[in-house]
Amino acid sequence: MKDITILSGKGGTGKTSITAALASVIENTVFVDADVDAADLHIIFQPKNKETHVFEGAWVASIDTDLCTNCGLCQQHCKFEAIHFKSDGGLQIDPFACEGCRLCERVCPTQAISSMRSINNHWYVSDTRFGPLVHAKMGPGEENSGKLVTQIRKSAKDIALEIKADFILNDGPPGIGCAAIASITGADAVILVTEPSKSGFHDIVRLIELVQSFNIPMYALINKFDINLDITKQMESFFAREGIQLMGKLPFSEEMVYSMVEKKTMVEYNKDSEIVNTLSELWKKIASSELKMEH
C-alpha cells in the first residue's frame, strides 16, 4: 500500500480538483481530505457519513470569578497576553488568545482556573462513489490542525489495511506549516501541484525544501501551464535541476470550474478532455512500480 499526499504550497493551484479527477481514475483507494482548515473534497465526493468522531482540541482555560481574588498572578505568567482585567475589575481569559499551556491553572493560588479541551472539531469516516473518505471539520479559530491531520491519516491507514487498499490519497493543505508537515510525515510520495506564477513558483520552492527534509520522493504537476509559458519553462528546468520528475502539465480550463459547479469530477464532466488524459497517464506511472517509493 502506498500513501501519497498532494501538496502545493500556494492555495488555489487545483489540488482538490485534481484529487477528485484522480478519484475517478484510480481504484481501491482510501481518500483523506487533509486540508482540515478548509476541507472541500466532500463537495464533489458527496459522502454518506458512516462515523462521526469528536476530536479533542487544545485546552482552553477559564476563570471561576467566585473563587478568583483578582491577584493577577495568572496574568503575570501568561506569555500569550490572553488574560485581562475587565473594565469592572475582574479577570477574564480570551479563549482565542489562550494557547492551552495551563500555566495559569497551575499558578493560581485559589484554584479558580480550570481548563477544558475544546470539542469543536469533528472528523468523519464516510462512503463515497470512489471509496472510503476520511475528512474533518474544524471549529472556527481552532488550533492543532496538525494533530487533527495526523488523526485522520491514522484512521485512513487502519481502513486501508483492513480493506487491503492499494493506495491512500491525501488532499493536502496549502502552506508549509503544521498541517502541511503532518500531511507529509510518513507519506510514501508527494505530488506537487503548482501553477506558473511568481507566487506559485516561490511557494513550491519553499515546499520542496520542506519535503526534502523528510526525504520523501516527490513528483511535480504543473496546472494551468498555459497561463505563463515562460515561468512554465523555468519551472521545468528547476524541477530537472532538483531531480524532481515532472509528471505532466495541464492547460488552464474553465471546464475544471464548471465540473466543480456541477459537483462532478473532471472525468465525470468530460472524460475525453486533455486534462483527463494527462491525469490518467500520470496515475498509470504512479500505479506502476516505475516510481521509486521505497520507504
Binding site: 478548509a38 482565542f96 502552506g175 502541511a180 506564477s197 511557494d203 505563463n228
Partner: protein, 288 residues
C-alpha cells in the same frame, strides 16, 4: 492608532494577495500615503513579489525563548515534563537524559515555573525573520517569514505585529488561508476584515466557514468577489440572505491571470478594476 484592515479568505487562491496589493496601492493613491502593507502569510509570503524594485530597510531574526535543561542540576523529577502541555520535554531518568524539542515548544514558560532545582535556563531559537522593505516611492511593506519546518506560525505573526516599524494611518494585513489559529492571530486586532472569495462551490463553502469565525470573534467584515463570472450565483444568494455587504467584484479574465503570474498586477491594473478598488477605499473611509 492606525486603522487596520485584514484581508482573509478561507480558501487559498481566491486572490487575497492580488486584492491586498491593489487595495494598498489604491489607498496610497486615493486616500493617504501613510499606509503599510503587512504580509501575515508567514508560511508563504508573496506580497513582495509584486514590487520588484524593493530594497531591504531592516531585517531581524525572530527569536523565542526556549528552555534548556542542565542535566547536572536536573533531578529528573519530571515535573517540567508533566507541566509541558506540548510534549516538548523528553526525559529518561534511567539514562540521565533530558532534552527540549524546540519545534514543539510554545515558549509558555510553564517548565521554568515547574523546576524547583534551577535546572532550566533560558536560551533562544530562531523561528523566522521580520523584514521591512522599501518598495518604492517611500512605501513600506513588512513581511514575516517562517523558518521552513517551524510549526510556530502564530507566534511569528504576533512578533511581526509587535515589530512593525513606523507610524502609519492605515495597516493592511494580508492573512494566510484557512480559518484556524494563524488567521485568528492576524485578524485579532483588525478594525475591519475583507473576505475575498470566488463564486465557486469551494469558494462559497470556505467563505461560510470564515464568516462563522468572524461572527464568533465579533469582527465587522465585508466580502469582495474575485473571478466573478467564473462559477455560479450561490455566493450572491448567500450574501443577500445573510445581509453581508458586497464591497465590489472583479471579473475573471485569463489575461489578468497572465499578468498576475508575471507579478505585474500593480502597474497594469485595468481602469475598470482600479475603479472598483477605489470604491472599496471610499467604503473604508466611511468606516474610519
Amino acid at each position: 492608532m492606525a486603522f487596520k484592515v485584514a484581508i482573509a479568505s478561507g480558501k487559498g487562491g481566491t486572490g487575497k494577495t492580488t486584492f491586498a496589493v491593489n487595495l494598498f496601492s489604491s489607498i496610497n493613491e486615493n486616500w493617504t500615503r501613510s499606509v503599510q502593507l503587512v504580509d501575515c502569510d508567514v508560511e508563504e509570503p508573496n506580497d513582495l513579489l509584486f514590487f520588484p524594485n524593493f530594497s531591504v530597510k531592516s531585517e531581524k531574526p525572530v527569536e523565542h525563548v526556549i528552555p534548556e535543561i542542565d542535566t547536572a542540576k536536573c533531578t529528573f523529577c519530571k515535573k517540567c515534563e508533566d507541566y509541558c502541555e506540548f510534549n516538548a520535554i523528553v526525559m529518561m531518568p534511567s539514562m540521565q537524559y533530558a532534552t527540549v524539542n524546540k519545534d514543539l515548544c510554545h515558549s509558555c514558560g510553564a517548565c521554568f515555573v515547574a523546576c524547583e532545582f534551577d535546572a532550566i535556563h533560558e536560551t533562544t531559537d530562531t523561528i523566522g525573520t521580520v523584514t521591512n522593505y522599501n518598495i518604492g516611492n517611500e512605501m513600506s511593506l513588512m513581511e514575516g517569514n517562517l523558518r521552513i519546518g517551524s510549526p510556530l506560525q502564530t507566534i511569528l505573526i504576533k512578533d511581526l505585529k509587535n515589530n512593525l516599524v513606523g507610524e502609519h494611518d492605515i495597516l493592511i494585513y494580508d492573512a494566510p488561508p484557512g480559518t484556524s489559529c494563524p488567521v485568528v492571530e492576524t485578524i485579532s486586532d483588525a478594525d475591519f476584515v475583507i473576505l475575498v472569495t470566488e463564486p465557486t462551490p469551494f469558494g462559497v463553502y470556505d467563505l461560510k466557514l470564515t464568516v462563522d469565525l468572524l461572527r464568533e470573534v465579533n469582527k465587522p467584515f465585508g466580502v469582495f468577489v474575485n473571478k466573478a463570472g467564473l462559477g455560479n450565483s450561490e455566493v450572491y444568494e448567500f450574501l443577500k440572505a445573510e445581509n453581508i455587504d458586497l464591497l465590489g467584484e472583479i471579473p475573471f479574465s485569463k489575461e489578468y491571470a497572465g499578468l498576475y503570474s508575471k507579478g505585474e498586477i500593480v502597474r497594469c491594473v485595468p481602469l475598470e478594476f482600479a475603479k472598483v478598488y477605489k470604491e472599496v477605499v471610499e467604503y473604508l473611509k466611511k468606516l474610519n
